[in-house]
Every structure is written in structure tokens, then in C-alpha cells.
Amino acid sequence: MLLEIDNLTLRYGRIEALHGISITVGEGEIVALIGANGAGKTTTMRAVSGLRPVATGTVRFAGEDITNLRADLRVIRGICQSPEGRGIFPGMTVLENLDMGAYTRRDTAGIAADLDRVFGLFPRLAERRKQAGGTLSGGEQQMLAVGRALMARPKLLLLDEPSMGLAPMVIQQIFEIITEINQQGTTILLVEQNAQQALSRAHRAYVLETGKIVQEGTGQELLTDSRVRDAYLGVA
């Protein structure tokens, strides 16, 4: 198992946002997390990437206990997150934002190649490479956030609602990219509201409800599960 989350609790002040959840992500898998607003999906991501301190429980990555490791050190271990709300550096250009994604990398040639790949995936970004990140449109920022995460060449990629605010065509594209990079060997933990897409592309998935895991299974299983269909897929 690449990532093992065991019995994790996390608090915001007095509010307990996660009540002991356990999730595993195997090497080479796409695992989706779905759930309603406020279920705790983002919170889980933050616990994995190290942005929020954990109350109890452990997080293990590639066998190492990283529960109390600093966020920047986790990046070096190979965990990279594309955060909810995009987290674009507003005063940096598109190019610099992408470079930030490769902050911990030293292989100049590899970085250049990856840059080309990202620009190939999102031609819009190539057009705007000198524009300040903060002035991009919402969707452009989303592309930038995903592209930046790709630049880190992580072992484990955490994507928090990558399709948010994107036009239908681009959404399609994003999911194709996700599948593609997964096939190239990147493990992915994916949070998505677009459960249809997420489940059909994920190997396995978990359903979160108010801070607890209520269901888990393969993507296909959940896609056909009636409860899931009612709650998260909407009336067909």
C-alpha cells in the first residue's frame, strides 16, 4: 500500500471534522473520495498533505509514518496536492507558478519536458505564460493548479475537485488526463463532485458522510449502487 490512513480524527477548533476514518491507496491506483458538501473530503486531503494537524490516528506513506511530518517534507517524499480553491500564486506568472510545482526537483531537462507536456495539455496556459496567475479566469486557474501539480511528478497526486469551474469540454479532458497520468504510473487520490466521472475512472472509491466512511468498493460497484445513485449522481 502506498498510502495508509488509519483511524484518523481531525478537529477544527471544537468541531470534529473527521471521526476516525481509514483509507488505503495502493500503488498505481486511482482512488476516489465522494461525499456531500462538508463531508470532510478536503479535510482528508489536508491531513494527507500535511496542511492540518491530525488529532489522532496515523498516516503512512510508502511504509513510513508521516503523521507528524512537515508539509514541505512530504512533498520531497512524493506527495503533491492540487488544493481546493486552486491556491494559485497570484503575483507570479503562469510560468513561475508551474516552476513552483517543480520546486523540489533538480533535473532541469525533466522539468523542461514536463513543462512542454503541461502546455500541450492546456494550450490556454501556453498562451498566457507571462500573465499573472491572479488575473486568470477561474477555469484557467484551475488548469494551472492541475498543471502545477503535474510538474511535481509526484508518486501520489492529490486532486481536490479538479473539474470545478471548468467548461464541459475541459472537464472531459481533465478526466482523460487523470487516466493518462495514472497509466504512466502516478497514484491518484481524487476528490470529485462529478461522481459519475470519478467513479467510472477510479479503481476504488470511498463515500464520506459527515466525517465518516459509509461505503467503499470498486468504482463500478458504487456507480451501480442505488444509495450512491440517489445521493450523489442525482436523478439520471
Partner: protein
Amino acid sequence: MSDTEDLVSLPESEAPTRTDLLVVDHVTLRFGGVVALDDVSFEVRRGEILGLIGPNGAGKTTCFNAMTGVYRPTSGEVRFDGDRVSGRKPHQINRLGIARTFQNIRLFPEMTALENVMVGTDSQHFTSVPGALFRLYRKRPKPEELPVVDSHNGLVRAWQQTRLVFAKVFGISRHTLEERAGEQKALALLRFVGIADRANELARNLPYGYQRRLEIARALATEPKLLCLDEPAAGFNPAEKEQLLKLIRDIRDKGYTVLLIEHDMRLVMGVTDRIVVLEFGKKIAEGTPAEVRDNPKVIAAYLGVPADAS
């Protein structure tokens, strides 16, 4: 939701007429080399729900910004209900009757949900700062506005009684009355959008979906004639989108005119009366949902697949 009917006061509840409420008239907006809006013209008619769609970076949010005074068009102008919008400050434009929500939620994070909405009611206050300080302008209260006398403790009761007499003789300051009315209205609006259960929680601690709805309630509190929603369903799952769809319909049914930016086609197709499509800052199509859906230009630029793409 029935109890809100009388509290959410409506803008001249006229039947949808053909008259245009908002006119975007040949608006061009440049940022340095980027042409975000290129000679865009369209109008929003009273009582309708108009959808504004287009690929990422097409200029939709920029269009909102030009309408609400955040940016000034490079050329062209926006007219609202006969008044020029361009050149006015955001708060003045709000008083003309345009309210909006933001693509990246912008609530007042350290204020409670209720307080957030009450900020929206501010524009209905007539009391000025000295008025709030001295509270000299007093009105004869209606019976239901009088202080209640309900305590069993003699001392307290005496005090309440004094206040009652005082209010009867000297009236109650307009400020106090306005505050109370504002609070009632804010509560009603929270109930209307369905988040009254967490009215006293800080906005920053509300889940995402609640925050989105709170933004809508806050915008409604300013009693706009036109409500502009910028991707209200972003981050919602399909079930939640369904609820939102109902909410937007309810809003329209109350007589508001709505301008909606949204990428979720099911929502857009389900709720709008007409749709304007932008691409690269230019308007490429306009029409009913059915017309737009089948427009090859729109399909090529935006939808990708002919049918419902969600």
C-alpha cells in the same frame, strides 16, 4: 417557505414584460494586450433567467465585473433600468438594483451567517451615522413593536414597564426599528435559501455549499432588481445542484430577474429562459436553451458533445 412571502419584499412585482432591465451595449474591455470583452451586446429582460455561458476565460466573470463597477469598460456602456452603470461606484450600482455573488466565495468570514445577510440589508436603512449615534428620530411604534412585559421578577417587571411607557410616550428610534426589521428579513432569507439552522455560526466555518447559499441570501437582502450568480453550483454534487435549481426557480418566481453564469449544462438548460454564449470575449450565440444547444458554433466551442454533456 411560505412564511417568507411577505417578508422578502419584491421589486415592483410586475408581470414579466418585454422591457429590458439591463442593457450591455457594445462593451469592450481590455487588460493590456488581453481583450477580455470584445464589443459584447446583449440585454436582460425583466423577470427572466438569462444564462451566460462560454469556455473558460471567455469573459463571463469580466462581464459581471463590468456590470457591477469592479472594472470600467474600455468602451461601450452598461445601462440598467435607464441609468448608466459605467462610472458609478460598486455600492452605488448596488443601490440601483444589481446584486451579485462571486465565483470565488467572498463572504465576511468572521461574521455570522445572520450578520452577513444583515450587511445586505444595510442599503434599506435610512438612519445615518449621527442617527445611529443620537437616535433622536423616533417613530410611534406599531403595537407588535412595543417592548414586552413578561417577567415575574418585580424589579425587572418594573423596568420593562418603564420601557414600555417610555416607548409609548417617546416612540422608538427609527434605527432600532430598522435593525429589527433587518434581522427579521435576514432570518427569513436564511430560511428561504435553507440554511437557517446555522444562522449564528461564523461564515468561515460553514461548509462550502452553505457558503454559496449564504452568498445568495446576502445578495437578495439588498433587494435587487437583478440578481447575478457566478457559478453558484461549482463544487456541488448533482443532488445539490438539483436543490439549487429549485432555489433559482423560486427566486425567479418571486419576481427577481436572474443572470446566471454556470458551466453545468443540465442546470443551465433546466432553469434559463434564454442563453448568451461568449467565446474569446465575443458573443457567438444567443437564444433559447434548445436553440443554443443545437448551435454548431456552441457545440464546437463549448459543449464538445452534441447532447447533454454532464
